[in-house]
């Protein structure tokens, strides 16, 4: 449990991040789910407003409907509740590359102003300061899903002006760079954090703050961002979690903690 988003609010910053992310998933959407926060948000969507969202995990389950959150990308719960389980090559070849994924739901270690993702290294590749886990499925999810949502906590370490390494493409140098590179999917249409929601400017594709969570100020978000964050003239405040959203999320996490002895997962 993280600290409350504000002392006067009855939900935490992680909770509103998760709820805000979950709301972006529409029913009947086919979603390629990363483990950790994306998986929590996607399952919350399934348990609330999007009962027919289709969850695909890179380990092979198609149409997973876990009752507790998976701690790993290959939990048995995913296999047992799926419509079918195929091989990992089939997931990447027929389903992702095949163009059948509506939304890729990703976490990240770092993003830049054009929503490019780094999960490879901090520092130089050949002599890294910090060696991160690496690409996983993200480069092809980021390029081949019809659109991408990125969910991660906001800080100047995570939101950096220039990435040391682009693992997975967002809008590259911005503008039409992504299209010019021949990348098929629309790219990241939302970055959801514990402070707010950023979406790409329609022309420059630079991430722009379009919503702040209740109790969060624009200055807080800008301070947690490693570049001069643009703010939409039409800035909204994220609707607070509905009681049924919070209840569903907390139930899910309580079931998960009971089953696994911890709450749901980090990267991986």
């Amino acid at each position: 449990m993280t600290t409350p988003a504000s002392p006067t609010l009855d939900f935490t910053a992680t909770e509103i991040m998760t709820v805000a992310a979950s709301r972006l998933l529409r029913d009947d959407t086919v979603c390629f789910v990363g483990i950790g926060l994306p998986s929590t948000a996607a399952n919350l969507a399934r348990l609330t407003h999007a009962p027919d969202v289709v969850l695909i995990y890179e380990s092979g389950p198609i149409g997973a409907k876990p009752t507790v959150l998976p701690l790993s990308i290959g939990d048995g719960e995913l296999a047992l509740t799926a419509d079918t389980v195929v091989s990992t090559p089939e997931i990447f070849r027929y389903w992702l590359q095949g163009g059948r994924i509506d939304v890729g739901f990703l976490g990240a270690a770092q993003v830049d102003r054009f929503a490019n993702i780094n999960t490879t290294v901090i520092g130089a590749y050949d002599s890294p300061k910090v060696r991160l886990p690496g690409a996983g499925g993200a480069p092809e999810i980021a390029s081949q899903a019809k659109e991408v949502f990125i969910v991660l906590k906001q800080s100047t370490k995570a939101f950096v002006g220039k990435l040391p390494f682009i693992t997975s493409a967002g809008y590259l140098d911005g503008g039409d760079a992504r299209e010019r590179a021949g990348i098929p999917g629309k790219g990241p249409t939302a970055v959801i954090t514990d402070l707010g929601i950023m979406t790409p400017d329609p022309v420059t594709r630079e991430l722009t703050l379009t919503s702040v969570h209740p109790g969060v100020t624009v200055d807080q978000v800008r301070e947690a961002t490693g570049w001069d964050l643009k703010v939409s003239p039409d800035l909204k405040t994220t609707a607070a979690p509905e009681p049924q959203e919070l209840a569903a999320l907390r139930d899910l996490q309580a079931r998960t903690a009971k089953a696994h002895g911890q709450s749901g997962g980090g990267e991986g």
Binding site: I35, G36, S59, G60, P61, L71, S72, I73, G74, D75, G76, L78, A79, L80, V85, V86, S87, T88, P89, F92, R93, L96, Q97, N116, T120, Y125, D126, S127, P128, K129, V130, R131, P133, G134, A135, G136, G137, A138, P139, E140, A142, S143, Q144, F165, I166, T167, S168, A169, L172, R178, A181, G182, I183, P184, G261, Q262, G265, G266, E267, G268
Partner: protein, 286 residues
């Protein structure tokens, strides 16, 4: 043709120093017992291939078995870093580790190409990523019909692939189910294959179209119940999530790691021995 044999014999007879070895299993069915046996036998200079080098490769790397790692995601799933992997890459301990880094899609396709006896895999991939800048084995080819540019990476063709599966029959036919990962492709891409299994039965009773590896596609089948621990075998064992969390402090320091490996792996005869000693040490810390 599959021999039913002990894991010790299989590792000693089929894995040579310098080999390219893939131990596969996607969170499910990770062949940890076989990894330990490779450590016990002090295999050296291995090129280790694996999409997700988690704890099993953290141990092999930390014990100095690996010369090179071909991979796509190296972390402790749900916990964080692989400290031995990081120490090798960041500080060259216990020695330099060459890495060849891909995406999951690249690795999965490279196994498929290996199983298909093709020299390279063709995929839409890596576009916009910096990976091709640091991996000269990511190249691009042109479609002879449309002119499109597509990624090409070399096939994975291990000398030996090692997997864990649920069942074998007495002739060595193997059945696995649930999360299959890339195991079938990894076995068929390899020259030799070792399979540890939960049980050996008279008849597989495989459902239609299930994942069966016929005995003539496998070199050795070894009966190692629980041999995926702390990973799991669906229908037999549960994943021990606590072990994954407990690994983090163990692997943080070189000394702690080495002491742990000496006591639990080098100091035990086999995987049963490891499980006994682990139970003791878990009691001590509890």
């Amino acid at each position: 043709m599959a021999q039913i044999t002990s894991l010790r014999e299989a590792v000693s007879g089929l894995i040579q120093d310098g080999d390219t070895v893939a131990l596969e299993g996607f969170t499910h069915l990770i062949p940890h017992a076989a990894g330990h046996e490779i450590v016990r036998q002090g295999k050296k200079d291995l090129t280790l291939v694996r999409m997700t080098p988690d704890l099993i490769y953290d141990q092999l790397i930390g014990m100095g078995c690996a010369r090179k790692l071909i991979f796509s995601w190296g972390g402790n799933p749900g916990v964080g870093s692989l400290h031995r992997f990081r120490d090798a890459v960041e500080n060259g301990w216990p020695h330099q580790l060459e890495i060849e880094e891909h995406s999951h899609s690249g690795m999965a396709n490279a196994y498929v190409a290996g199983a298909s006896n093709l020299p390279f895999a063709l995929l839409r991939g890596y576009t916009g990523s910096d990976l091709p800048k640091v991996n000269p084995n990511i190249r691009f080819v042109e479609c002879p019909f449309t002119g499109e540019k597509l990624a090409a990476i070399p096939s994975v063709r291990p000398d030996v692939t090692v997997i864990h599966a649920q069942k074998a029959d007495r002739r060595g036919n193997v059945l696995l189910w649930g999360i299959l990962g890339v195991q079938k492709e990894a076995v068929l891409a390899a020259k030799r294959a070792i399979v540890t299994v939960e049980e050996i039965v008279d008849a597989l009773e495989a459902p239609a179209n299930s994942c069966v590896l016929p005995r003539w596609a496998v070199s050795a089948v070894c009966h190692v119940p629980g041999g995926a621990y702390p990973s799991y075998a669906q229908g037999y064992t549960e994943r021990d999530n606590r072990f994954y969390k407990a690994w983090d402090p163990v692997a943080r320091s070189r000394e702690g790691f080495t002491a742990w490996m000496e006591r639990h792996v080098l100091g035990t005869e086999d995987f049963d021995g490891f499980r006994r000693v682990l139970a003791e040490s878990q009691k001590e810390t509890a």
